[in-house]
Every structure is written in structure tokens, then in C-alpha cells.
């Protein structure tokens, strides 16, 4: 069953076309990663689902119910974690959780219980009563997530939840998100961290120029684009005098590249052919298909461009 479906989303801000028919489908219990370069339309898409941007065209369905023009309560099943640390710096961690919990309609004992759980979940129980302005970036990020999900939404949107934090904090955040997923939540994340996307995402949607250009698991995306073959790169002591007969290798200066479906079987003959041309191999690099390569293949540019 579908947790969230965005169909043919269009949005223009002045002269800028932010969304040009983007489509996203989030399945129940899934962790979906939304990838795209800066300005691709990811945040606009997230804000449209959150009700902060009105689409010019397109449909949004949350848990099977259309959201377009719906009242605020229709989004009660939705949790939104913004990219900014949207917290009150002079309030303590506990107070921040309490106020945002109340804004989501949680009261009394239920609120106290949720706040207690959230403090443990974020690992901030021992600093619960300190103003958060003294917290590290990672601690604030964790609290930022907790404030967005305190009302136990079924669908959670997270805009760059790991941006600007150290690797340990980032790992901790991924653990928190996995726990949410295990508890049955469906999550959509935007991120620039391709290695994380590769590791943690169930499926990946790539957006560019406001359009969805690819969708699937990492393996599916690799097969759709660069294929499963490894890229082998040789660095020689000098340029090859002529192209290698019988190998589909590309030679550029002292570098030779080719793609191998079976590296163990295909690499030794290639090395022998190079030596036969009188060249010495200084280095050999074997690269598995990466999301970076997939992205490059699809968009013709690096993610950060």
C-alpha cells in the first residue's frame, strides 16, 4: 500500500520553474531517498507535501487521501523535519519537545510519556533540562528530528537530516531513523550523502530540473544506467604506443580504462597485453558501480554541481 504519492507536481516561483512534473511514490514502511543537485526541486517537493507550498498542478495523496487544499488536520499523520535547526535555543531539550508536542495536539500524560521516550531515543535524557543553545550540532539535529516525530506520524519527511554533523552523530541519526522505520513509519529523506543513500535507502528517487529522472533500488538504478560491470583503471609508466588489440579499453595519456564483468578473469590478459607493448603498470584501481556514477550517468554532472 502507498503511504505517499505525488503525481505530476508543477510549481513555479516567478521565473523559476521549481517542479516540472515530479513524481514520487513512498510505500508503507519504506525509507525512500530523494536525491538531486542543489536547486533540483527536492525541498520544494517536501514543502509541498508538508502543506507549505501550494502546487500549480499535480496531486498529493497521503495514506490514500488527497491532500490538495485539505485542512491542517489532514496532515496530522505527517511529520516534517526541516533542514534548519528549527528549535527555540533558550528552551531546554525537554521544553522544546513539550511545546512542539502540544502544537501537534499531544497533552497531559501522553505528552510526558512521549517526551521521556524521545529524550531516551535521542540520547539526550541526561541533558534534558539544559538550554539547547549549548548543544553540539549533532545533538541539536537529533532533537530537531525528535520534535518533528513526537506525535508519532505514519509518514515522515526529513529534509537533509544529517547535514553538517560529524560521522558519529550521523551514524546515530541513521540508527534513530531505522528505529522509526522498524516502528512502522514510512520515511522520505533528502540527502547529499550518496554513500549513506546507497547503504540505508530502500529505494532512491533522483530528481533533476524539477523532474523525476530515475527511481528504484540502488541495484536497479545501477542496472538501468552504468550496468553491474566494474571499472578498471590502469596507470602506466608511459603512454601506450598503440591501442590494445582485442580489448575495448579507452586510453588517455598514461591512463587506460575498461569495464569488466569478471575482474579476476579479464584483468590478467589485459596486464599481459600492456606489458607486451613495453609498458609497466604503476597502479591498478577497480571501482564498483556507485550512486555517484549513476548520478553522473543520468544527469551528466556531479551531485554537488
Amino acid at each position: 500500500m502507498t503511504a505517499l504519492r505525488v503525481t505530476r507536481a508543477y510549481k513555479r516561483f516567478g521565473k523559476t520553474q521549481a517542479l516540472s512534473g515530479a513524481e514520487v511514490t513512498l510505500r508503507r514502511g519504506e525509507l525512500l531517498l530523494l536525491l538531486g543537485p542543489n536547486g533540483a526541486g527536492k525541498t520544494t517537493l517536501v514543502r509541498a507535501v508538508a502543506g507549505r507550498v501550494r502546487l500549480d498542478e499535480g496531486q498529493i495523496e497521503l495514506l490514500g487521501q488527497p491532500l490538495n487544499g485539505a485542512a491542517g488536520d489532514a496532515r496530522q499523520s505527517l511529520g516534517v523535519v526541516p533542514q534548519e535547526i528549527a528549535l527555540y535555543p533558550l528552551l531546554t531539550a525537554r521544553e522544546n519537545l513539550e511545546v512542539f508536542g502540544r502544537f501537534h495536539g499531544i497533552q497531559g500524560d501522553a505528552l510526558a510519556a512521549q517526551v521521556k521516550d524521545a529524550l531516551e531515543w535521542t540520547g539526550l535524557a541526561d541533558r534534558a533540562d539544559e538550554p539547547i543553545q549549548g548543544f553540539s550540532g549533532g545533538m541539536k539535529r537529533r532533537l530537531n528530528i525528535a520534535c518533528g516525530v513526537l506525535h508519532q506520524p505514519e509518514v515522515i519527511l526529513l529534509d537533509e537530516p544529517t547535514v553538517g554533523v560529524d560521522p558519529q552523530s550521523r551514524e546515530r541519526i541513521w540508527e534513530m531513523l531505522q528505529k522509526l522505520k522498524q516502528a512502522g513509519a514510512s520515511l522520505v529523506l533528502t540527502t547529499h550523502q550518496l554513500d549513506e543513500a546507497q547503504t540505508h535507502g530502500d529505494r532512491i528517487v533522483i530528481i533533476d530540473h524539477g523532474q523525476t529522472i530515475a527511481e528504484g533500488t540502488f541495484r536497479e538504478l545501477v542496472e538501468q544506467t552504468v550496468g553491474p560491470r566494474r571499472q578498471v583503471t590502469l596507470t602506466l609508466d608511459r603512454e601506450l604506443p598503440r591501442s590494445l588489440a582485442g580489448f575495448s579499453a579507452e586510453s588517455q595519456g598514461r591512463t587506460v580504462r575498461f569495464h569488466a564483468a569478471d575482474v579476476a578473469a579479464e584483468l590478467p590478459p589485459l596486464l599481459a597485453a600492456v606489458r607486451a607493448e613495453g609498458c609497466q603498470v604503476e597502479d591498478v584501481a577497480v571501482q564498483s558501480p556507485t550512486l555517484q556514477l549513476v548520478f553522473l550517468h543520468l544527469t551528466g554532472r556531479e551531485l554537488r554541481e
Partner: protein, 463 residues
């Protein structure tokens, strides 16, 4: 290195329009306002002092004195009043016009004049006592004393009038002055010859002719000298009156409003300061907090919850209304503790005025917050607006010092209505219901500001 610092400074200065505004534009605006307020002071362009006149003497001398007062350009003299519904003070011309229309009017009595001073309609009333003309000129301590019933919340008017009376009396009845002088001369220097009497009689005849032109103005020197007797604390005028021979006319200033008050003027200054700082607090607080929420992302988060923009604005408005009430209360409590402001006997009126003032100030702060895009913009904009309103609205110096045009302009400011209300409470001892114009205007302003803020806040809602 220093050159690089200067370059950075120059680039910031060039690109920060708020700094431009605060550094160059605001001071020029303020200079202009102060110049407009004070430029006319030396040229007789100051606001005309409104004064009621009661002629209990009804002698030739007192009539001449009233006529001379009426001809003073710097005065607006009210010797009469409209009787019955809508009773109000009338100038001589107004009274005659109404009489021709059959409307009932009457000359003012002392009680009428005092009531108008107490009501704040005029800052002073001159009472010309019975026997004044008969005794003039006389320097004895038993001569009739002209009373100046004054509302000393306007420091200027009683002083101006007191000095002006001494000047006018020199020129209003010169034949009486002459007669008195000759009498003294004959008493101490012997009788005049028939020839001398003839010349004196001719001179008296000339001097007693009704003036068909403006009476001669007192010389600058005379005005200055007479003014000296009427400066500063009104009580000093009592001292003048008790010193025979110190002035031509014995004048006693009667402080009809402040006589029983411990520190009456302090309440006005407490309100003036409190209202200005209330505006600053509300602009930076109510308006600034909205922009801060927008800048740090909490506004987005709040609006993604069950909270609506209307509830958010209402919550912030109520917070800053309560803060404003506490802020002004602290100011007046300090005034009570240190400067003996009579807070407790005026508590109800104080609370009503404080509540509506804080309500309107908080709403104005929110309107300014929703008008601006950044907190930097808000700082420049609110500082300019608040200082302007405070200058024109009477928070920096009393409005009675301003020209009529500026006093009217003041009514378009927030401060003027708030200060008028506080003055009614603490000075004129107004009852609660008498505050309705100020309460109505401030409540209406609060509603308009809130509505404006709500409309402008739509930009933060779904785009």
C-alpha cells in the same frame, strides 16, 4: 591592514541601507521636526495660548484690560460661554454671533472658568477682581489681586500670561497710570498750577480716547522686566504679589489642579517615557519574534503543526500585551515609590489606559514585523517610526509647546492619544467613562494594526 579594515567597513556601509537610514536620514528628519517645533518661538508663531477671562470688576479699567488681552496675537481669549447642551467656551466674536442666532450665552463666572481649567479646556483663566479699576494704580499690599487660575501641566501658559498682564497693564489704561502718578506727585511735591492742570487734563483726554488701533505693545525691555516676575515655580508669583511695589498689578497664580497633588507632573513624564519604550519593546519583541521565527525555521515548523497563523499572531499579541502592561506598571510603581506618583488613587484609570495602550502597541509591533523582511529592516524602520511618533506625539516634549498644526498632526500618532488618556487620569481626575475617546481610538488602532498584520502575514503561509 588598516586599509583593508577601512575597505570592509566601506563595503558594509555602502550595502547596508538600514545604516544609511539611521545614520543620515533619521537625524535629518529629527532635526527638521525640532526645527519646525521651535523655529517660531522667537517670531510670535508659537501656539496661541487659550485663556478664559472673568471680569468681576466691570470697570473701564478692567474692560480696557480685557480688550487689550483680546488684541494680543499670542492669546485666544474666551470671556463667555455657550449655555446648556454642548456648553463651551466662546470668544467675544463667537458669543456675539451665537447671540444673534438666538443661542443662549453668558459671561464667565469664576466658577465657570475654574471648571473649564479643571476640564483641560484652557490652561489658565484670568480673574479680574472687583475694585481693581478703582484701586489702580496702587502699590499697596491691600490692593485687589488678579488671580490666574492655572493648569500647571502646561508650564508655559501661566508664565506667559502672568508676564503679559504686567506688560498690558502699562499700555491698556495709560490715563489711569498718569492720574495715579500725578496724585502721588501732588501728595509729595505740592499742588500743580492751573496751567499744569490744564496740560494734564488735555493729556488725560488724549490717553483715555478709545483706542481705534491696536494698543501700543509693551516695549521689549518692559516685557522682559515684567516677565522676570513671573518665571519658574508658580509659587514665586505669590511672593511677587505679597511684595508691595514689585509690580503694577498684583497677580497670584492659583494652581487649581496640582495644588493637592504630591508630584503631579511626574505622572505625565512617566507615561511619556513608558509609552515610548513600550513601543520599542513591542516592535523589537512582537515584530522581531515573528521575523526570528521565520528566519530560524520554527515558523515553518509551527505552521506545519495544528497551529494556524491566526492563533500564532493572537498568542504573540496577547503575550506582548501582558508584557507591556507589566512594563508600564513597573514604571509607575517606581514613580510611586521614588517620585510619589499617586498611582493607587488612580488605579482603575491607569489600568484601563495601560491595557489599551499596551494592546495597541503590541499590535503595532506585529504590524511592523509583518511589514519588514528582516530584523535589520525592522530595527531601522521601527526606530524611525517610533522616534517620529514620540517626537510629534508628545513623548519627548509636551504637545502644548508645539504649533497648532503639529498638535493636530500629533493626533495621528499613537503616543498623543495614550498620553492624553494618562493625563486625563492623573491630572484632570477624569472618571473612567470620560476616557472613552482615548480608549476607543487606541482600541480601534489595535484592531486595525492586528488586521493589517494578519493580512501581511499571509506571505508566510502556503506560497
Amino acid at each position: 591592514m588598516i586599509g583593508t579594515i577601512l575597505r570592509i567597513f566601506w563595503i558594509h556601509l555602502r550595502r547596508d541601507r538600514v545604516v544609511w537610514l539611521l545614520t543620515f536620514i533619521v537625524p535629518v528628519i529629527f532635526f527638521s521636526i525640532f526645527a519646525i517645533i521651535f523655529k517660531g518661538q522667537g517670531r510670535g508663531a508659537t501656539p496661541r495660548v487659550r485663556v478664559a477671562v472673568v471680569d468681576e470688576d466691570v470697570s473701564d479699567f478692567s474692560k480696557k484690560l480685557v480688550t487689550a488681552l483680546q488684541k494680543e496675537n499670542s492669546l485666544r481669549v474666551f470671556p463667555a460661554m455657550k449655555v446648556g447642551q454642548g456648553s463651551r467656551l466662546l470668544t467675544q466674536d463667537e458669543a456675539e454671533a451665537l447671540r444673534r442666532e438666538g443661542v443662549a450665552t453668558k459671561l464667565l463666572t469664576r466658577a465657570d472658568a475654574e471648571a473649564f481649567v479643571r476640564g483641560g479646556d484652557v490652561p489658565a483663566a484670568i480673574i479680574l477682581p472687583e475694585g481693581l479699576g478703582e484701586s489702580f494704580p496702587s502699590f499697596g499690599s491691600d490692593r485687589p489681586t488678579v488671580e490666574l487660575l492655572a493648569d500647571t501641566s502646561d508650564h508655559i501658559a501661566p508664565q506667559v500670561l502672568s508676564g503679559m498682564l504686567q506688560g498690558i497693564v502699562m499700555t491698556a489704561a495709560p490715563e489711569a497710570m498718569m492720574k495715579g502718578g500725578i496724585a502721588q506727585l501732588e501728595k509729595w511735591g505740592g499742588a500743580l498750577t492751573p496751567e499744569q492742570r490744564k496740560v494734564i487734563a488735555q493729556a488725560e483726554q488724549i490717553l483715555s480716547q478709545p483706542a481705534d488701533q491696536d494698543p501700543p505693545k509693551p516695549s521689549k525691555k518692559a516685557s522682559k522686566e515684567n516677565g522676570k516676575g513671573a518665571t519658574g515655580d508658580p509659587r514665586s508669583d505669590d511672593q511677587i504679589a505679597s511684595r508691595p511695589g514689585a509690580s503694577l498689578l498684583a497677580v497670584r497664580v492659583v494652581d487649581v489642579l496640582g495644588e493637592k497633588k504630591a508630584n503631579p507632573v511626574i505622572a505625565f513624564y512617566a507615561a511619556a517615557t513608558a509609552v515610548m519604550f513600550l513601543l520599542f519593546a513591542c516592535a523589537n519583541g512582537a515584530g522581531g519574534s515573528l521575523l526570528e521565527e521565520a528566519e530560524n525555521g520554527t515558523l515553518d515548523r509551527l505552521l506545519s503543526s495544528k497551529l494556524t497563523m491566526t492563533s500564532l499572531l493572537a498568542g504573540k499579541w496577547i503575550s506582548f500585551v501582558l508584557l507591556g502592561v507589566v512594563q508600564v506598571s513597573v514604571m509607575f510603581l517606581w514613580g510611586w515609590l521614588v517620585f510619589s506618583v499617586e498611582l493607587w488613587s488612580h488605579l482603575a484609570g491607569f489600568l484601563v489606559m495601560t491595557f489599551v495602550t499596551a494592546a495597541a502597541a503590541a499590535a503595532l509591533g506585529m504590524l511592523m514585523g509583518t511589514l519588514c523582511r528582516t530584523r535589520g529592516q525592522l530595527a531601522g524602520f521601527s526606530t524611525t517610526v517610533i522616534l517620529l511618533m514620540s517626537a510629534v506625539g508628545g513623548s519627548m516634549f509636551p504637545r502644548f509647546m508645539m504649533s497648532d498644526a503639529l498638535q493636530t498632526a500629533g493626533l495621528f500618532t499613537f503616543n498623543a492619544w495614550a498620553l492624553d488618556g494618562y493625563q486625563k487620569v492623573f491630572w484632570y481626575e477624569a472618571r473612567l467613562w470620560q476616557l472613552w475617546p482615548q480608549v476607543l481610538v487606541l482600541a480601534a488602532l489595535a484592531a486595525v494594526f492586528l488586521l493589517g498584520a494578519r493580512l501581511l502575514a499571509r506571505r508566510w503561509e502556503t506560497v
